[in-house]
């Protein structure tokens, strides 16, 4: 123990006496560890702490699936859910839930509040209890039972001033009275966003109890001791039975399930990729420090030889040298935490707001433990090779020679070269990964969305059923909104639809259809198309081009023949070269429609999603939906219109909230924000990796130059000129680069497959990226070795050849 503390003090003194070395090593390691800590704190919040439920391993997410129709994970129809619940034994409990929203009125401004409709079983299933009051009773879930609502802690604070007395009071949701029965704890989040303000009982309506309407999410808790496979087997049996009993709706439908933690992992895989990437950066930093230690060990050759000659054991020497790297790593770990505080801020600033639980991202005990463990690991990785190396110098040679002989470090030189080759290879892998993402991103931004997103303001409005029970009231409301918005200054044209492209909010579903003259399909086998209700001007407001036939007109209203416009994909896929205009199509809502036109495809579900068959019907003929999105094309910045639209809606109905006010450009940029985030971070890590690798090449080559002064002097005496010396030194750097790049490229071929899911329209072995990165590294190596090469030309042969 005594010797250990002495060795510790000795190591500390060494570090203090070499402030330059210590600073460079600590900075390199702190950057590497700090970057890891930052990303890990995100992983910690999103993947580790975001299922803060007891026994989260037993939580399972269930879907309906249909192999024949290629549907892997469809939501569940409420009636099927009820049968599953009643007939299965594998689950301790099941719960069905769906996203909903209500206009909360009567307190200040009306506000659209994101809500979860859920079976009362959800809370017990998650092991959650209300912080105040209670959760739901079975009675409150009955159709016709009392209306109850549970508030999130956030909403309770924000809208109700954290007043405990709200329990039992009544609030207005979509103009209906609801009793507040409970407030959840601040930490409770379900499903995963703190944007959810309320939970209400699912209370399936008669309408919703049709087995064909699949739109609820189902979560279950496995009974103790039951495996996922056993549960799957049981559900297969139940689904098969339901298929026989209700062939119209259930034939061919089965059950898919995944453990909740696996699902979380799968949907946030990019975080693991980022973590792996940042791990590579740390490895590069370790290699840098190992190199510095190796170089220093070479300088300490004689000290170590003397110590061994005096009887030091090899293990003791290794320990002494390792203590130094542990000290270094400890210092770096502390510095890394400081860097991580900035790093986390930076990540959160870059983060588009899609990360669940981003507000939990921070430094906690998990993160501290991770950082400490990483620092220890770093010390080992960076320290072990140099320590082992230094502990076995050739005794004779070191004691005999006057230092600086050419052979003294040739073994260490090999080790240093190997370190740099490793660094370059790792940097190549990272740069290629980042390059592929960047190219994907550029390709994606190049995609023509099929509509014109510039200068379009959009406002989502959901009307309360109690105030707008009849279609004609809905029509009157939206007609007036369109009129008023159209007359606002700066507005060119305005339209409305059930859902605008890119926006995940809106009424968006597909319908089966039949084409007149084509043989009808078996029920359940019909082709499907996305269903959109639009006002007369909507398509032109969005700049979706009319390719054939005519657009909607004012005359296309109730009483006139039903008309429909289809998109190009639908025309191409289902009309086989026949002119669709003039043909008739039947859909379950509204019956037969005449196709009057064909419009261009749009990338509705995102730039990376292929266009699907889409059909448009006229709002005035099919005004069945109380939720519409108003879209206004403006002459200038459309976000300026937000307040005016709010004012106009308020003027028509002061109890009506606008669920979302945004612009098409914002939606579009938001839709690529996760990609942008990944690309930016991975790009940043790659640049860091490149910088560290360049530093590595530079330090090894310049150390080589300092070691080879004598050789350079000899060569100059033999007639070498500056150019010859530069060529020789640069060639050495390039040799390392070529080996490193080759290994890196091979590694990248093996590894980029793992990021295929993040790529768009770019092959994981894209030759342009591979070639580009190789060139960049070759160039970087050239520059990194050119500087020490220049220094080499300034070697004074007279001095270099002098012997003492």
């Amino acid at each position: 123990m005594d010797t250990l503390s002495q060795e510790f003090r000795y190591a500390l003194r060494k570090l203090v006496r070499n402030p330059g070395f210590t600073a460079v090593a600590v900075i390199a390691l702190a950057l590497g560890i700090g970057a890891n800590t930052s990303i890990f704190s995100v992983v910690n919040a999103v993947l580790i702490r975001s299922l803060p439920f007891d026994d989260a391993d037993r939580l399972v997410v269930l879907w309906e699936n249909n192999q024949e129709q290629g549907r892997e994970r469809d939501p569940v129809s409420p009636q099927n859910y009820l049968d599953w619940r009643d007939q299965s034994d594998a689950f301790e409990a099941l719960a069905a839930w769906a996203y909903w929203s209500f206009t909360l009125a009567g307190v200040d401004q009306p506000e659209r509040v994101s809500t979860i409709r859920t079976s009362p079983s959800l809370f017990a299933l998650l092991g959650a209890e209300a912080a105040l009051g209670r959760t739901f009773t079975a009675e409150e879930n009955e159709l016709g039972g009392p209306n109850a609502v549970v508030l999130s802690h956030g909403l309770w604070e924000r809208r109700f001033g954290s007043e405990p007395g709200v329990i039992g009071s009544t609030i207005s949701l979509d103009l209906e009275p609801y009793t507040i029965v409970g407030v959840m704890p601040a930490a409770f989040r379900f499903p995963d966003s703190d944007k959810i303000g309320m939970w209400t009982p699912a209370k399936f309506s008669q309408d919703e109890l049709s087995r064909a309407r699949r739109f609820f999410n189902v979560i279950g808790r496995l009974a103790p001791g039951v495996s996922l496979e056993q549960a799957q087997a049981e559900m297969d049996v139940i689904a098969a039975r339901l298929g026989k009993e209700y062939p119209d709706t259930n034939l061919g439908w089965g059950v898919a399930m995944t453990r909740a933690p696996d699902l979380l992992l799968a949907s946030n895989q990019y975080l693991l990729i980022l973590l792996a990437a940042v791990g590579l950066v740390l490895l590069i930093a370790c290699a840098n420090v190992a190199n510095l230690l190796l170089a220093r060990a070479a300088d300490r050759h004689r000290e170590i030889a003397v110590r061994r000659a005096l009887g030091a054991q090899r293990f003791g020497l290794i320990r002494q040298l390792l203590i130094e790297s542990f000290l270094l790593a400890g210092l770096s770990g502390v510095a890394a935490l400081v860097i991580a505080v900035w790093g986390i801020d930076l990540i959160l600033a870059l983060e588009p707001g899609n990360l669940p639980h981003w507000n939990k991202v921070g430094i906690d005990t998990h993160v501290l433990t991770f950082t400490a463990a990483l620092a220890l690991l770093t010390a080992l990785i960076a320290g072990i090779v140099p320590a082992v190396h230094a502990s076995r110098p050739n005794l004779n040679e070191s004691l005999k020679e006057g230092g600086g002989r050419l052979t003294a470090g040739s073994r260490a030189k090999g080790a240093r070269g190997a370190m740099v080759v490793t660094q370059i290879a790792l940097a190549v892998v990272l740069l290629i990964g980042a390059g592929l993402l960047i190219r994907s991103f550029a390709r994606l931004l190049d995609v023509d969305p099929g509509f014109n997103p510039t200068n379009v303001a959009v406002a989502n409005i959901f009307l309360a059923e109690s105030r707008y029970p009849e279609d004609h009231l809905t029509v009157a409301f939206f007609d007036e909104v369109l009129d008023r918005v159209e007359s606002l200054p700066g507005v060119i044209a305005v339209g409305a639809t059930t859902t605008v492209p890119i926006d995940p909010v809106g009424i968006d579903f597909d319908l089966p259809f039949d084409i007149e003259g084509q043989s009808p399909h078996e029920p359940g086998q019909e082709p499907q198309a996305d269903y959109r209700v639009v006002t007369t001007e909507y398509l032109s407001v969005m700049g979706i081009p009319l390719l054939r036939g005519r657009a909607f007109q004012e005359g296309d209203r109730e009483g006139a023949p039903n008309v429909m416009i289809i998109n190009q994909t639908m025309a191409r896929r289902f009309f086989g070269g026949v002119e669709p205009v003039g043909k008739r199509i039947r859909i379950p809502i509204g019956g037969w429609f005449e196709v009057i036109g064909v419009v261009g495809d749009i990338h509705h579900r995102g730039l990376d999603a292929e266009p699907r068959p889409e059909l448009y019907v006229a709002f005035h003929q099919q005004p069945h939906f109380r939720g519409m999105v108003v879209a206004a094309r403006t002459t200038s910045d459309p976000s300026a219109l937000a307040r005016a639209i709010t004012r106009e809606v308020f003027a028509i109905d002061p109890d009506q909230a606008i669920a979302q006010l945004t612009t098409m450009s914002e939606l579009l940029s938001g839709s690529v924000s996760t990609r942008r985030f990944n690309t930016t971070l991975l790009g940043g890590f790659a640049v860091l990796a490149l910088a560290l690798a360049v530093l590595g090449i530079y330090s090894v080559v310049s150390y080589g130059v300092s070691q080879r002064a004598q050789e350079i002097g000899v060569r100059m005496a033999m007639g070498a000129r500056g150019d010859d010396v530069i060529k020789m030194i640069v060639a050495e750097g390039l040799k390392l680069a070529v080996v490193g790049v080759t290994i890196g490229v091979i590694g990248a071929i093996a590894l980029t497959r793992l990021i295929t899911s993040l790529l768009y329209d770019v092959s994981p072995v894209d030759p342009v990226t591979f070639l580009g990165v190789s060139l960049v590294l070759a160039l970087a190596a050239l520059v990194a070795s050119y500087i020490p090469a220049l220094k080499a030309t300034r070697v004074d042969p007279v001095l270099a050849l002098k012997h003492e």
Binding site: Q710, E711, M718, G719, V798, L801
Partner: protein
């Protein structure tokens, strides 16, 4: 071949100029074998470095044949070095990472000699010095005398007119030293001009003429 006039070299040590060479006037004829002697620190090595054009910081005049070295830029000096000069050092200065044959090839690699020719020249030289068997060995595998033999061979490989040998036997036993000195004498008889530095009276006798340096001055005998 060489004319030196008022050659001087000093170091600026901060406290003033410290002269290493003073007022050197001398002439070396083609085919001469010149010996420079003098105590340690007298400036012998410095003078060789200047003649060999490794050192450019001096004053005075230095003509190599008709070329006024004192007026030439480093490029031209390098060209003269390549054309005329071969070096032999006390510590041999062979490159330890290169084999004997590769060491011999170094001067050729800086002189636009084709690779195939280089091989031939090196083979010739190995033959001439009777070290063919050693061509793939590394310097550390040779005795000191053998290493100096290789170093002399290396100095000769580019066929210099002038060999500058700075204490070539300083690290060798007498018997090995004699082999090297006999070799230098033989080369001189074949026409190569030689300037050697030595402390050994016997080796000094191998030369035609002796210059004594003391504190940078040439002492008249």
């Amino acid at each position: 071949m060489i004319t030196l006039r008022n050659l001087e070299k000093f170091y600026d040590t901060g406290a003033g100029k410290t002269f290493v060479l003073r007022n050197i006037n001398s002439e070396v004829k083609d085919g001469e074998f010149l010996t420079i002697m003098g105590p340690s620190g007298a400036g012998k090595s410095t003078l060789l470095s200047i003649i060999g054009m490794l050192d450019a910081a001096w004053q005075g005049e230095y003509y190599l044949y008709d070329s006024p070295v004192h007026e030439l830029k480093s490029k031209k000096r390098n060209a003269l070095n390549k054309q005329y000069i071969g070096f032999v050092f006390q510590q041999y200065h062979l490159l330890d990472d290169l084999t004997v044959a590769e060491n011999l090839e170094i001067p050729l690699s800086y002189r636009n000699v084709k690779r195939s020719e280089r091989q031939a020249i090196v083979a010739d030289m190995l033959d001439r010095f009777n070290i063919v068997a050693k061509k793939d060995l590394y310097p550390s595998q040779l005795s000191g005398g053998q290493q100096q033999l290789v170093a002399v061979a290396r100095a000769l490989v580019a066929e210099p007119k002038l060999i500058l040998a700075d204490e070539p036997t300083g690290s060798l036993h007498t018997s090995q030293g004699k082999i090297i000195m006999d070799l230098l004498k033989e080369l001189n008889e074949q026409g190569t001009t030689i300037i050697q530095v030595t402390h050994n009276e016997a080796w000094a006798e191998y030369g035609d003429r002796i210059i004594n340096l003391r504190d940078g001055w040439i002492m008249k005998n």
